[in-house]
Subunit: 145 residues, 2 copies
């Protein structure tokens, strides 16, 4: 990590790198601590959407939803690992999540997800959509000391 010459990325590069990834991770907070799940997602400007694939059947599928309803602050991360550490990078989007189960923004989110993932074209998600309004993009890439 260089002290001078920060390796921090501009917002546009953060967005571009995250958009190039197929999976991200979403962290939410409960009173008891953090909850963390991988997600597939679509980006539309400063809005990142994901969906619960099917009508929830298990308590754990709903943990992210109940956390967001109690505390809508979420953090999303995409990262690139390589055994050559000079190729490492990560991108994080911190923002505020809302849940929808119907309406125009719900269907727009599902359309964006179906555009990106063929599985969603064959089997459209039936569960709630989580829409994150990104308030801060942060990106880092390795830079020699």
């Amino acid at each position: 990590m260089t002290a001078a010459g920060s390796p921090r990325m501009a917002t546009e590069e953060c967005r571009r790198l995250m958009e190039g990834e197929r999976v991200a991770r979403m962290a939410t907070c409960a009173a008891s601590g953090p909850h963390l799940v991988p997600i597939v997602f679509a980006i539309d400007g400063d809005r990142i959407v994901s969906a619960v694939d099917h009508k929830p059947k298990r308590t754990t599928r709903l943990k992210r939803i109940s956390n967001i309803l109690a505390n809508p602050a979420v953090s999303l991360l995409a990262d690139h690992y390589s055994e050559e550490w000079d190729r490492l990078w990560w991108v994080r989007a911190d923002g505020i999540a809302t849940i929808s189960e119907a309406g125009a923004s719900y269907h727009r989110a599902l359309d964006a997800l179906a555009d990106r993932y063929q599985q969603y074209r064959h089997h459209r998600p039936e569960g709630p959509v989580i829409e994150v309004a990104v308030e801060r993009w942060t990106g880092w890439r390795f830079s020699p000391e």
Copy 2:
């Protein structure tokens, strides 16, 4: 997701899958919301260790540390993505973190990290060690509905 025949994994499989990954993500909680970073790590039974590479220079490098000091509950995630969604899996370890900067467990953690990552053999981490005592392993793999 099958209703009958849960695809949840046994603890031993969770541990084995996470151990096979080279990168995981660590979520911590601040009062303002979650914080999320990728980590390299080593596993010793129900103990997962990571380190801050160098003496911290930037505020953001310390966010995970200040969060843990205020709320030691952390969540660690390793996941596998494939365009063939029947190959998806993820493994999560939820636990309680402690920070160390010296002493036997500090050096034992750095040894374990150096065993796994050649970069750490060449340049031993100089920052704090985060040691997570795992309280719950959770794993999921795709299972057709």
